[in-house]
């Protein structure tokens, strides 16, 4: 939490399993995501400034704003990180880096356990709600402003739009199929607070989800996901998104994945951290844009 923001942005990988998967999804949101890494580089690209004095001023103000916990940037970053950190992930990420350029699904299947649909559905909902809360923290609006968030979705771009695209594709379509929104909401309705409590992602971030207990938080999650349903439906329809197209784009570096979508979802779940990666980029962008106006 107290790690300096410039170090966090400097540590963003230029290429790893996460960036390969996100690049493979470029066709979903064409040209929106450039893998912006490095603190100084991010300032240069976002501000369009080359002058070192100017870059220094922007960077120093951005650091000060991040270090003020009350400004919400630390909390947003924490949320993006925590929702993406699952037990055992470190080992898988190391394995993924060793696999090389092409991943053969066949060789990994005996090591993977696909998640139950219920777990996958709740994961999707928790990730979406993390986006709502982080969005509110970054933009300075009350943490339960679902309506403001939904209104802003049409204005999402850059890494934030890619994050939503990846959420829909990798945590929605891939494991749950085309009716992922209906399924996810159905799981929330059926499962109740007890199942929510058993969900690892929920456990990681529950301290920051609005609501005084699991039941109230379940209500907030249902409300949030329900409010995004129409937007997600249009997102899928306007791009004619389907599992076939998605599998086609992943085949560039993963072989033998036809008919094994639940295994692919499980593998990506354990080997990528696109929420943390693009979330860090969103936090950096918010800080830099604000700092530019405050120097």
């Amino acid at each position: 939490m107290s790690e300096p923001i410039f170090k966090v942005v400097d540590a963003l990988p230029a290429k790893n399993m996460t960036t390969r998967v996100l690049h493979a999804l470029d066709w979903v949101v064409p040209g929106q995501w450039n893998n912006l890494v490095g603190f100084e580089n991010s300032i240069k690209v976002i501000s369009g400034e080359d002058d070192q004095k100017m870059i220094q001023k922007i960077g120093e103000r951005a650091i000060a704003l991040y270090n003020d916990k009350g400004e919400g940037y630390q909390t947003a970053l924490w949320l993006y990180r925590m929702v993406d950190n699952l037990q055992g992930m470190a080992g898988w990420a190391a394995l993924a880096n060793k696999i090389g350029e092409n991943i053969s699904m066949l060789s990994l299947m005996n090591k993977l356990t696909p998640k139950a649909d219920t777990t996958q559905g709740i994961d999707f909902c928790v990730k979406l709600v993390v986006e709502i809360v982080a969005f509110c923290k970054l933009n300075g609006i009350p943490g339960d402003s679902v309506a403001d968030f939904v209104k802003s979705l049409s204005d999402y771009r850059d890494e934030a739009l890619m994050r939503m695209a990846a959420l829909i594709c990798l945590d929605g379509l891939l494991p749950l199929g085309p009716d992922f929104m209906v399924k996810a909401l159905g799981f929330l309705d059926k499962s109740g607070a007890g199942d929510l409590e058993k969900n690892e992602r929920y456990q990681q971030v529950k301290s920051l989800i609005p609501g005084e207990n699991a039941k109230a938080q379940l209500g907030f999650i249902s409300q949030g996901v329900g409010a995004v349903k129409d937007w997600a439906g249009k997102f899928v329809a306007s791009r004619d998104l389907g599992t076939d197209k998605l599998v086609g784009s992943l085949k560039n570096f993963m072989s033998g994945i036809d008919g094994k979508l639940d295994y692919v979802a499980a593998l990506l779940d354990m080997t990528t951290n696109y929420y943390e990666h693009t979330g860090t980029q969103s936090v950096a962008r918010s800080l830099i844009v604000r700092a530019m106006g405050e120097i």
Binding site: F6, E40, M54, I63, D68, G70, E71, N139, M292, G293
Partner: protein, 166 residues
């Protein structure tokens, strides 16, 4: 009899040095001083106006332009200016009470706009200072949005209204 074989001793020393370098941490960076100075500190003055106060002073955008409000925090309000749906500039009102360094540029200002001192903020930004306190800035996010465009949009803020704030 030697207690330590020289080759082992050298390897041992090299290992110790590697450990020492690791313990010292990373190379110094241009950001370390700013980090040390601001760690755990407030970046926003308690005297700053709420960002929501500034919204009414932003320009009214008419087609093909549109204004999309982004961050609204104590002391600052930020909006994106879009033209035909494409972002062309970032508009900000900032209460400099939180970062008085921001107003030092204006001491050397030789230009004025609508009666307020005007400065360049880097190559992409143009800003003016209202009542020696509120910085109003327009920054191009699209190369086609020129310095003249920035000045045009600076004039569209309700600068006189903002000047009534203090």
């Amino acid at each position: 009899m030697l207690l330590f074989k020289p080759r082992i001793a050298v390897a041992f020393l090299a290992g110790l040095m590697a450990l020492a370098v690791a313990a010292c941490g990373a190379q110094p960076t241009r950001w370390d001083e700013a980090q040390d100075k601001t760690r755990g500190k407030k970046a926003v003055s308690t005297d700053a106006y709420e960002g929501s106060v500034f919204n009414k002073f932003f320009p009214k955008a008419e087609s093909p332009f549109d204004l999309v409000y982004k961050q609204e925090k104590k002391g600052t309000a930020i909006a994106d200016l879009k033209q035909d749906g494409k972002p062309v500039a970032t508009l900000t009102i900032f209460d400099t009470v939180s970062n008085p360094d921001a107003i030092t540029d204006y001491k050397e200002s030789t230009q004025a706009l609508a009666g307020f001192p005007l400065v360049a903020k880097g190559a992409k930004g143009t800003a003016l200072l209202v009542n020696r306190r509120f910085q109003v800035q327009v920054r191009s996010t699209d190369d086609a949005f020129t310095e003249e465009d920035r000045k045009t949009w600076l004039k569209k803020f309700d600068l006189d209204g903002l000047a009534q704030l203090n």
